[in-house]
Every structure is written in structure tokens, then in C-alpha cells.
């Protein structure tokens, strides 16, 4: 079934050429790359959908939109908020471990992936996990390959556990003047009786981007579930922040989450995703806003994910974000192609103590070093100021 992919892998190994893996191109874009392209959108079939068991197995080149449409026929969904669902493939989502607004309540790709098929060195098809929701036989290859960015092989098949489409959804948008106020509200939400599905923090530019009033900081608190549950929690949330808050209906909330996710797919500018512990998020958002170089900053507060869309292609300002994140003990990823990187793959940082172990895994599983050669695991970020 995946022989065409296996053939490309074997060819690259024979010729010692790098292999670039491209799904829907949401992160990879159209940048010229050294090496051979493996276009996974050709493998996009449904393999098995056991709607009674709430699991589905699809080839990695299927777009998320097609997947969601299949699931919607049985009132089910994959509860991941991804950029450009009509374009991004499920393989791309898994390979980048893309985490969206509902990471708080539904988890991310690593939590919904239950089985994986990968074409690895020698063109061999390796499967890990399976089609059941609990499985501890052997090593967890699903975890190893989630977020691996193509560094260890080509993801060709995924088995996923899905959820029922919630009966109801709504959100509350609350405006704040300072990061301290926003952080106090976040702390209260996370420790109180409410159980939000998502807690997103937006700076003024991002609020405008998603058609909200442009306050310095806006918290968007989403709720999903049974109708009376959502209504009750929205009521409590509104009651705790009168005057500065507004209710968003289900469709507005859905559109807002989508636009937040879509920022990552913006072609002009550089998108950086930082990760710090939760109580530093509001401060980091404010600091990065103060640089005055962004087109919008959003954050999934509970999970410490800060998404910054920088204007232009100045890697110097990206360095400011990455340095500050590292100072706060966090990590960062540029999931797309940085404009001054010569068509190379994503950059990540800062270097960590377990990177040598990752390199040894890479050397063992890809001895010919063909899969996304040049991924910056073992090099400090090289920035060429434009």
C-alpha cells in the first residue's frame, strides 16, 4: 500500500539525498528545498471507521476537513483545532504535534493518536499501537513519532480515537488592561469550579484579527458539553467579570478558534510557537507585544503555549522571543520555514540535555540521515539578519 513512499525512501538512501516530507503544505509552504520531496497527499484513504468504538484509521495524507466530514456523519469529531483544516493533513498535525485551543480539555495529537504506520529506513513499514484505545504492548511508537517533524520517517497511517460532537458550546470574552489582571483571572479559572474547554489569551492585534474589540489583553474562555452545563458555566463566568465581558455564541466561538489556529498558516511573517509554564504566559504575551513587531499574539494559557506572528522576516526579533522564552525555562519552535534558512526544515530550541539522546536515536533509526536532514536539533539557532 505504501510502496511508492518506500521507493522514494530507498532511492534517497541509495543516493544519500535528503528527503523532505510534504503534506498539505501548511507549514512547509512552497519554499524550495534541497532534496527529494515525498508528497503524502497521495495516500489519503479511509482504512477503517468503527464509529461504535469511536476510532478511525486513515492514511496520513487525508486532510483534517475530509476527516471531520467523515466523522460528522456519526456526530463525532476529532477535537483538535488546527490551521487550515481543508489543507492540513492529519500526518502534518501528528508530525508537528500541533496543539490548539482545546488542548486543555481534549488533549493534543499525542493524546488522540492510538496507532501509527511509518515508512522508515530501508523503506520498511513499521506500525505501532493499534486500533484500541488502551495499549501498552512494546514501546510507544505513537509518542516517538508525534512531533518528530519527519525526522525519523514518513508517517503514512494514523489510528485515532474520536469524540462525540458536544451538544452545546459557547464562550466568554473578557477584556483586561494589564498582564497581572489577566494572570489573576487565569489562575482563578484554573483553580475554581468552572471546567473550561479552552482558555485563550489574545493581545490587541490578535483580538482585531479575530474580530473582537481591541483591548490590550482579551481572555476567551470556551465551554463545551451538555446544554445546561454550558449555560450554567457561561453564566458564572459572566457574573464574575461584569462589564468587561461578552458572551460569544457557538458559531462565533468556533470561528474564533479557527482564526486563532489559522495565524500559524499565515504566509507573510514568521510564526513562532513558544512554550513556558502557565503563570508566565500573560507576562510573555505582554513583553512580546511591547516589541511592537507582531501581527498578533495568542496563547493557550493552561498549557503555556504562546503563538507569535511576527511581521516581516527579521530573524532578530525572533531571536528576542526565543531568548526570552529560554530565560523563562521554556522552549520554542518555528514550525514553518524560516525565510533565511535555506529551505531547511523547522527550527527548534533551546538545546537541552536530552538532545544527545535524541541524536543517537536519529542515528540508529536513520543511519543514512535522509529524513529532513538539517533539522536544528544539534545546532544552536543560526540567525542571519536580513
Amino acid at each position: 500500500m505504501y510502496e511508492s513512499v518506500a521507493e522514494i525512501v530507498r532511492r534517497c538512501e541509495r543516493d544519500r539525498r535528503p528527503l523532505r516530507i510534504r503534506g498539505g503544505g501548511v507549514f512547509t509552504g512552497e519554499v524550495e528545498s534541497e532534496g527529494e520531496i515525498c508528497q503524502t497527499t497521495a495516500v489519503s484513504q479511509l482504512i477503517d471507521y468503527a464509529h461504535g468504538d469511536m476510532t478511525i484509521t486513515v492514511q496520513a495524507g487525508m486532510t483534517v476537513a475530509v476527516l471531520q466530514n467523515l466523522l460528522a456523519e456519526h456526530r463525532q469529531c476529532l477535537p483538535l483545532d488546527v490551521p487550515r483544516p481543508e489543507q492540513i493533513t492529519i500526518g502534518e498535525v501528528i508530525a508537528t504535534d500541533w496543539r490548539g485551543s482545546r488542548q486543555l480539555s481534549c488533549g493534543g495529537p499525542r493524546d488522540v493518536l492510538i496507532g501509527i504506520g511509518v515508512v522508515t529506513g530501508g523503506g520498511k513499514l513499521i506500525r505501532g499501537g493499534g486500533r484500541v484505545v488502551k495499549n501498552v504492548a512494546g514501546y510507544d511508537l505513537c509518542k516517538l513519532y508525534t512531533g518528530s517533524r519527519g525526522w525519523l520517517g514518513v508517517i503514512v497511517e494514523t489510528s485515532l480515537k474520536v469524540s462525540a460532537i458536544p451538544e452545546s458550546a459557547a464562550a466568554v470574552a473578557v477584556a483586561f488592561k494589564t498582564p497581572d489582571e489577566a494572570e489573576t483571572a487565569c489562575a482563578g479559572l484554573l483553580s475554581g469550579v468552572l471546567r473550561p474547554a479552552s482558555i485563550d489569551l489574545l493581545n490587541a492585534m490578535a483580538a482585531e484579527f479575530v474580530d473582537l474589540p481591541a483591548s490590550p489583553l482579551t481572555l476567551v474562555v470556551g465551554f463545551e458539553g451538555f446544554r445546561e452545563d454550558v449555560e450554567a458555566q457561561v453564566g458564572v463566568c459572566l457574573g464574575e467579570s461584569p462589564g468587561s465581558s461578552v458572551e460569544l455564541d457557538a458559531e462565533t466561538y468556533r470561528r474564533l478558534k479557527q482564526r486563532v489556529a489559522d495565524m500559524a498558516a499565515e504566509r507573510s511573517g514568521i510564526f513562532v510557537r513558544c512554550r513556558v509554564i502557565s503563570d508566565r504566559v500573560a507576562a510573555l504575551v505582554a513583553e512580546m507585544t511591547a516589541l511592537g513587531r507582531d501581527r498578533g499574539i495568542t496563547a493557550h494559557v493552561a498549557d503555556g503555549l504562546v503563538n507569535i506572528l511576527f511581521a516581516g522576516d527579521d530573524m532578530g526579533v525572533v531571536r528576542a522571543a526565543s531568548d526570552r522564552t529560554a530565560t523563562l525555562g521554556g522552549s520554542w519552535v518555528i514550525p514553518g520555514r524560516a525565510p533565511t534558512a535555506k529551505g531547511g526544515p523547522a527550527m527548534i530550541g533551546p538545546p537541552r540535555g536530552d538532545w544527545p539522546l535524541m541524536r543517537r536515536l536519529k542515528q540508529a533509526l536513520d543511519p543514512a540521515d535522509i529524513f529532513e536532514r538539517g533539522l536544528a536539533f544539534d545546532q544552536a539557532l543560526r540567525i542571519a539578519n536580513g
Binding site: V132, N135, A364
Partner: protein, 479 residues
Amino acid sequence: MAPGTIQPNIVAALERIVGADNVVRHRAERMVYECDAFTLVRNPPELVLLPRRVEHVAQAVRLLAENKIPFVPRGAGTGLAGGTVSPPGAVMIGLNRLTRIRRIDLRNRFAEVEAGVVNLKLNNQLAPHGYQFAPDPSSQMACTIRGNTATNAGGPHTLKYGVTVNHVLGLELVMPDGEVVRTGDASGGSAGLDLTGLIVGGEGTLGIVTAVTVRLTRLPQAVRTALAVFETVDDATQSVADITATGIVPAAMEMMDSGVIEAVEAAFHIGLPLDAGAVLLIEVDGHEAGIERQMRSAAEICRKNHARDVRIAKDEQERLRIWKARKRAAGAFGRLTTSYCTQDGVVPRSQLPDMLREIAEIAKRHGVRIANLVHAGDGNIHPIVMFDERDAQLVRRALDASGDILRACIRRGGTITGEHGVGVEKIEYMPLLFTADELAHMLTIRKVFNPAELCNPHKIFPDSKGCWEIQKPGKRVIV
């Protein structure tokens, strides 16, 4: 390494590293460590170290590695697959004296705990603050966080809250050469490969976990627990399917068949009906507003599927009584049998009725008695296969029945272990689940971490050097 051949100078050096009080030398005392809860494979380790500090673990491992002595990490020994049984000549490193809770950060919802912290002890410390470490295996009053990460432990509340790996943010690992490495971090993920996710569930074959950064989850505002009584297992499993289809995500759905009911009643006299085919424990939790409707819906579905009775616990005391029946069920089997082994297969949930019917046929075919505890919401079955360990024929029949159950799980698109691990018990079934290339791929991964294969050797994968054999009951294992 042959038994009894650890040089006295090495023993002395290990005593200097961990402290003489933290070394178990005498054979009678080492027998305590000869097996975990899978009692069919036993071998006392050559020596048992019980270090109190991470640096002592690292120094001990370095010394053992330099001298090519295999070693086996162990938590509380509650494992059910022989994951911590010692091969001949090995030193055991018990982590149960690494018991510090180093840090609790409620705002950022994480805690850093040493490997020997007992699961329930951590939860007792978190509960007054309104938090929990969600994985709740039935052994949680004894099992350690180290053991939970080794097997990627689950428990009844896995259905809603996930398994251990969904609640581990980072690890402190002593590598098999003695180097200390940290993976992940409190923010829940560093850029790069998910080594944390790879190591969790590695059953101690990739290194020794000495500390874990765990995710904390808020305790629910409201909980409702019910016990539904059914004439047949089919009615109970149909209820599970129907409840799931409504979009309700119960915190737990646990089924016990008539064999389990008999054992539980004999031990605890809770009041379960002995003539029932099955009982289903259903728990929903969350915000107060939605709870009543969810429990009402679940109860209606059970009645629609011919439930004889649906009792919703009226207070916390009754709720705890219902849970006692479930959580202590395995321990109740001492009333019915001298020995048992608990299988851990998983099938797609829709296959549960047929799978349980097939288990009944397997039991009849092999002339053994099997009762079934089921994490019904996620298709994870725990057939409890009863036998008398003193009778070699009964042991053989129990093992054959267990094998048939696991093969049936694979045939139905499932797996051989949902939360107990492969250990030694299920090594022979791994080639039925994985191709030769897939096994080789995983062994390549193991070689990166554990090149000399000294850390918990001969576990999980079929081994060309030999295999665990259960000879006669009571006879020591050979490898």
C-alpha cells in the same frame, strides 16, 4: 552472570555507595523480592539495593555497568506481568525509599515526585487542595509512581482521564550507564522528540526513572456513582455501548461478572446480588449543572437494557462502598482459589460481548474457572484465571487458557496488554502482535538507551539468549 558470583569487593563498594542499611544480602530476605504479583516466575536477586538518593542510584548503576552486572529496577512489586522478576545474577534496585515529593505547584498544575512515592499517598496530599494525580490503578494504595510510569498504568478512571502517559510531563532518568538525564519539563513538552512518552511504558528497559513531573488535574466539582444489576453480561455491555453513543463520557464504567460478584460478596458482604449475571458501576463527574441529567440518561439506558436495578449512591459513604467492591475485587479471590493470574487483553469495545462469550468457552475447554473484571468503557478485560499453583497440570491449563484469551484478543483487532505490561508473562505473544521488522525497530530503540542490555534484561521482547521458563510450580526460573 551466574548466580552467586558478585564479587565481595563489588558488594562492599555498593554498600559504601548506598549505605549498608540499604542493602539486602541475606537469602531469606532477598526472597521477598523474588517475584511481583505474577507469581509463576520467581527468582531472588543476588542483592537488593534500596538507595535513598538519586545520586546513589546513578553511582550504583555506573558501578554495575562497569562490571557488566545486570540490574532490575522495582517499585512496590505490584506488577502483574513479571516485569520486575530478576534474571539470574542480577542486582535489584528498589526505588521505594526515594519518597520525596520535591515540589507541588498548584497554579501551574504540576508536581515533581520521586519514584518511590506511593500513588495514593500523592493523591492524599493533593486532595485537600482540590487536585489529583488522575491514574488510579486498583493497587494505588501500594503501587509507586515509578511502577505507574513503567507500565503506563491505567485504572478505572482511564476512560475519562487517560492513562499515566497523559499525566506525565517530564522524567528524571538514570540511564543504564549511570548518566542522569531529564526529559520533558513542567510546561508539558519541550521541542524535539517525545522521549518522555517513549520511556513511559518501557517497563524499566530503557533506564531507571528516579523522579517524575506529573500533571495535576482538578478534582471534579460533582460526582454521581451508580451500580446497575443485569441478568446477563450482554445486557450490561449493550448499556456501555448505548451510553457512549449519547456523547456522555463517564468517568468510569466497570463491569463485574457473576464470578467476581461471588468473590466480592464472600470477602466483603457488600450486598451484591449473587444471582446477577453482571453488575455495571457507572460514574459521571464534572460541573454540578450537568451531572444529574447525565446520570439520569445513563440509568434510563441501563433500564432499557433490562437492568434489574439501578442504585444511585445517595451519599459519599455509599459511593465508597460501591467502589470498594470494585477496587478490592481482585484481592477477594483468595476466598475462591489458592492462586490466580489476571490477564489484561483489550478488544474494541463493540467486541466485548463476543469476547466474553469466547472466554466462557475457553474456560470450559480448558477446565478452569475464569471470572471477568472489565474496564468496559475502553474494552480492557481482566479475566481472572483461577488455579492451584501446587498442581502442575492446573498451572498448565491456566496458562493455556490465558494464551487462548490473548490470541483471541489479537484476532479481534485488540492487543495483549492494556495496562499491566508485557513483562515476562506475555513475551511469547509479541511476535503475534508485531512483525519481525517492528520488533527489530523497537530493539534498535532499546539498544540506543541500553546498549549492553544490562537494565532489566530479558523483558518484553523475545530474546535470542534464552527465555523465561516456568518449569514446575515452585521451581526456580531459568533464562
